[in-house]
Point group: C2
Chain length 159, copies 2
C-alpha cells in the first residue's frame, strides 16, 4: 500500500465527478483528498486525487476510469517526475501576547496572514507535504481552531 497521486483530465459534464468518486468507493478506496477545477480549455477540468492504494488495484481503477465517457486522460503522477503543492488556510488561537511569535513563524514558512481577530490569526500557506506538516505541528502548540486544505495538485516536470 502506497500513497498515490492520480491526475484525471475530464470533460466538465454533469455527474462526471460523482461517477469517478463512485468508482473509487466501489473498490473500497478511501479518497484522502481530491481537487477538481477548470483548466485553461473551456469545458475541461482536471482532477487530482490522492489515495493510499495497492498498485495493482489502483491500475484496475485507472483502467475503469479510462472507459468512462467523459474521461480524456488518466495518469499516475507518482510514477513520473512532478511537482506537487497544497494550499492550507489555518486559524489559530492568538491572544495579543502571542501574535508576534505566530506572525514570525508564518514569515519563516513564507505563509501569509490573511485575517486577524482579537484572539485569532488566520494564515495561508502553500508547499509540499513536509513543509506544511512541520508548520502545522508548530501551530498546534497555540491551538488550531480551524484548518482547511485543498489537497494536493500535481504538475509534470519539464517541457
Amino acid at each position: 500500500m502506497m500513497r498515490r497521486v492520480v491526475s484525471v483530465f475530464v470533460e466538465n459534464k454533469f455527474g462526471v465527478l460523482s461517477r469517478i468518486a463512485a468508482l473509487f468507493a466501489a473498490r473500497g478506496f478511501n479518497i484522502e483528498s481530491l481537487a477538481v477545477a477548470e483548466t485553461d480549455e473551456p469545458g475541461f477540468s482536471r482532477m487530482t486525487i490522492v489515495v493510499t492504494a495497492d498498485e495493482r488495484l489502483l491500475e484496475q481503477v485507472m483502467k475503469q476510469l479510462r472507459r468512462l465517457i467523459d474521461v480524456i486522460k488518466v495518469e499516475d503522477m507518482t510514477e513520473k517526475e512532478h511537482v506537487d503543492r497544497e494550499l492550507v488556510l489555518v486559524k489559530v488561537n492568538a491572544p495579543p501576547a502571542k501574535r508576534g511569535e505566530i506572525v514570525e513563524l508564518a514569515d519563516i514558512f513564507r505563509g501569509k496572514v490573511v485575517d486577524v481577530s482579537v484572539n485569532t490569526i488566520t494564515i495561508e500557506i502553500t508547499g509540499a507535504e513536509g513543509k506544511i506538516k512541520s508548520f502545522l505541528s508548530l501551530l498546534r502548540n497555540y491551538g488550531i481552531k480551524e484548518l482547511i486544505r485543498t489537497g494536493k495538485i500535481a504538475i509534470s516536470r519539464g517541457g
Copy 2:
C-alpha cells in the same frame, strides 16, 4: 443565478464524496470546483464546493446534504464574512529570451517558480479570484501549456 461557495464538513467514510457529488448532479448543478481534504480532526474532512446556482435551489440541496448520514455541517460561505483562496500551478512557454520577463511577472504577483526547463517555466500562485485571473491573462501572451487549479477553499473571518 449566482456563484456560491459551500462548505461541507463530513465524516471521512467510503462513498461520502460520491453521494454528495451525486446529489448535486441529480439537481442538474454543475460543480465548478471542489476541494476536499482532511481537517485537523482525524477522520473528518472538509469540502469546499463552488457552484453557480439559484439561491432557492441551492438551499434545497443544502437541506438534502444535511440529511446525509456522514455530513456534520453545511454552510453557504457566500452569506458570511470569509476569506477564500485558490492555488494554481501553471506551465508556460518560456524560451530563454522570455524567461526574465516571466519571472518578473511571477515576482510582481508573488508567485513562485517551481520548475524550469529549456522551453518552459512552471509557476505556483495563490490568491483570490481577481488576482489569479489577472496573472493568467498576462501569462496567456506567452502560451499556457498546462494549468491545474485546486478550486477555492474558504474560511470564516473573525474568531
